[in-house]
């Protein structure tokens, strides 16, 4: 029954996409590229600043992150230890055993954000913005911790418990209900709807096409170009697997992936550190380049400011702070203290950007000092792969598997986030429609060049940052109240500590 449905739909894809020649990739590319440019131009409307073009939307994000960091008194530093204690279970009531734990919420959210961006996006940042982009990426990661704190606290606070016992939460809910509680009901409803549309469309970029594209690129790199022109085939296979999980309900694939991804992340970091140590002689120079590129007007594409812009852009893309997707994942936690999920979520940009992205940046940076031409024409994942290959010849194969798994788990997570936006608007009954659309875009992602995909993904993702950060500004006082109340309750002993 299920397999019939699966086969029919899959065959439909195959027929629709079956090319007589491999030129299908180019055809699709020529259609999407101009659309990507147009969307990009609108969303990234820029103003000239000190000789560089500053997209207003990036300014919006940066200002927000700085504001929340200051408004919450550097909770990213002062709350870090508590975040670890929460994840460890020190404050978990044994009677709640069996409910979603803080660790599980964190692991799920991180699994969704750690994706190709950590491997390929960093390479893009360094290519476009020079080594200085790394510094701004790390800073963006740090500032983004506070943004995540706010949005994840709100996600739990304004979650909705459905009739069937499941939970729905996320920015559309805290916009609608949180702003209504402040007397801004119409604004809240409008923003909620806008965000919901934004996320189910945006999911098709960052959580879908970008991932499948980069997975294909890495597979192709490892196959030495044997897959050139076969993006459509790889795309179909990937789409098929995603289809099996999200529509076919074959949970075992997702279950296996969710368990392997953390292992791969650790493996990736371990090998990256090995390569960095192998390049140890070049570490000082690489770090020097990062700082000089960050501050002197000596880089590419607009100097230090260009590095800042691209650094921030790629950081947000990677750790999703300000996009609001993590608040959907965290909203599943049942707790009387919503702010605990805020604390836990501090760790996400830290792990994703400050740790993993920095490690990738150092691999690339040290390799660039050692052999400036190591990558040739390669960009994105292919560039990172070349950096690893220089020291560990077989690592690109491992990277290809890691990229595939990261991409896959991110796609599964984002299919859910996008679905939540869809069902917020259209109800639960039309779920399958969105899921099919999602799978189609997985296939499409492999048929387009990185450029237009990145443009579209970026544009859509930053578009939803706009209402999200606006809502966070409105609701920040609510979060501050929760945080202060919570800290008082801990100090007074009302909140029990169970662990060491």
């Amino acid at each position: 029954m299920l397999s019939n449905r699966f086969l029919i739909t899959f065959s439909a894809f195959a027929v629709a996409a079956s090319p007589v020649f491999a030129g299908i990739d180019d055809t699709i590319n020529s259609i999407t590229a101009p659309i990507a440019s147009l969307i990009g131009d609108i969303v990234f409307f820029s103003i000239p600043v000190f000789g560089a073009q500053l997209p207003l939307v990036v300014l919006w994000l940066v200002a927000g992150a700085i504001f929340f960091t200051l408004y919450l008194g550097f909770v990213s530093i002062r709350g870090f230890k508590h975040a670890i204690e929460l994840v460890r279970g020190d404050y978990s009531n044994p009677n709640d055993a069996g409910e979603v734990s803080h660790f599980q919420a964190l692991a799920t959210a991180v699994s969704g954000t750690v994706g190709i961006g950590n491997i390929g996006g960093v390479a893009v940042a360094v290519t476009v913005g020079g080594p200085g982009a790394t510094f701004w990426m790390i800073l963006a990661g740090f500032l983004g911790m506070s943004t995540k704190f706010v949005e994840c606290t709100l996600g739990v606070k304004y979650r909705q418990e459905n009739a069937d016992g499941s939970v729905s939460g996320g920015p559309m809910y805290f916009m609608r209900d949180g702003l209504a509680a402040q007397g801004r009901e119409r604004l809240g409803k409008f923003m909620g709807t806008f965000y919901a549309v934004g996320i189910f469309v945006g999911a098709l970029g960052i959580g879908n096409m970008f991932q499948s594209n980069q997975a294909y690129v890495q597979l192709n790199t490892v196959a030495d170009g044997a897959l050139d022109g076969y993006g459509w085939l790889v795309g179909l296979i990937l789409a098929g697997v995603v289809f099996a999980v999200i529509i076919g309900g074959i949970k075992s694939i997702a279950a296996v992936t969710e368990k392997i991804v953390p292992l791969m992340a650790v493996l990736y970091c371990t090998f990256a550190i090995v390569v960095i140590l192998m390049n140890a002689a070049y570490i000082p120079a690489a770090i020097g380049n990062i700082f000089s590129g960050a501050f002197t007007p000596d880089g590419v594409a607009g100097g230090a400011l260009g590095a800042l812009i691209i650094g921030f852009q790629r950081a947000v893309f990677s750790n999703e702070a300000g996009i609001g997707s993590a608040s959907i994942a965290h909203s599943a936690v049942r707790t009387n203290e919503p702010v605990t999920e805020g604390y836990v979520s501090l760790l996400e940009p830290f792990i994703d950007t400050i740790v993993i992205c920095t490690i990738t940046a150092l691999v690339i940076g040290t390799t660039q000092v050692a052999a400036p031409d190591f990558a040739g024409d390669a960009t994105g994942v292919a560039m990172t792969s070349a950096a690893f290959e220089r020291q560990i010849g077989w690592f690109p194969y491992v990277l290809a598997i890691a990229a595939l798994l990261f991409a896959f788990s991110t796609m599964i997570s984002w299919s859910y986030y996008g679905l939540k936006g869809w069902t917020y608007l259209f109800g639960e009954r039309t779920q399958t429609v969105y899921k099919v659309i999602f799978c189609v875009f997985v296939a499409l992602g492999c048929m387009v060049q990185l450029g237009p995909i990145l443009d579209i993904s970026d544009a859509l993702v930053f578009l939803i940052c706009v209402p999200n950060i606006l809502a966070l500004y409105f609701l920040a006082p609510v979060v501050k109240r929760e945080m202060n109340g919570y800290l008082d309750r801990i100090k007074s002993g009302k909140i029990k500590k169970y662990g060491t």
Binding site: P94, A97, G98, V100, E258, P262
Partner: protein, 144 residues
């Protein structure tokens, strides 16, 4: 220390034998029994967002099933033998949870069957009973 024995109930043949033995002991020493079923669960596991959102409901279902399918028949056996008893379901890791409950309820002894898990699993990961013997703060009786 209360005159109470904690019996680990798994629904397996081994745990059935353990329960029978516990009933005999309780008759002799006029003790009461605390029947405990542990649903295997760890806070350190990895899931999709969809699974997380459905978790609360699944937890309720797991608890209901444990009470009705696993514990109820055992409780009936104990009631029929005329022994005072209570029952609890908990999520967690077997050995750690049993040890914790033994301490919380101040029991005199834990009684459980030898191997609830399959042979290979207990060979690789250690069985609940062997782990419990290491960490329990009260005497542990393992019924073969």
């Amino acid at each position: 220390m209360e005159n109470r024995y904690l019996v680990a109930v798994e629904g397996s043949e081994g745990s059935r034998r353990a329960l029978t033995h516990a009933i005999e002991r309780a008759k002799v020493s006029n003790a009461e029994l605390l029947l405990v079923h542990v649903i295997d669960w760890s806070p350190y596991s990895f899931h999709t967002p969809e699974e997380l959102s459905a978790r609360h409901k699944r937890r309720e279902e797991e608890l209901a099933r444990a009470r009705d399918v696993v514990l109820a028949p055992s409780k009936k056996l104990v009631d029929d033998a005329g022994i005072k008893s209570s029952s609890e379901v908990r999520h967690g890791k077997g050995a750690e949870t049993l040890a914790m409950m033994a301490k919380d309820h101040d029991v005199a002894q834990i009684i459980l069957g030898r191997n609830g898990e399959s042979g290979i699993s207990s060979m690789l990961f250690g069985s609940t009973s062997s782990k419990l013997v290491q960490i329990s703060s009260v005497p542990v009786l393992i019924v073969p």
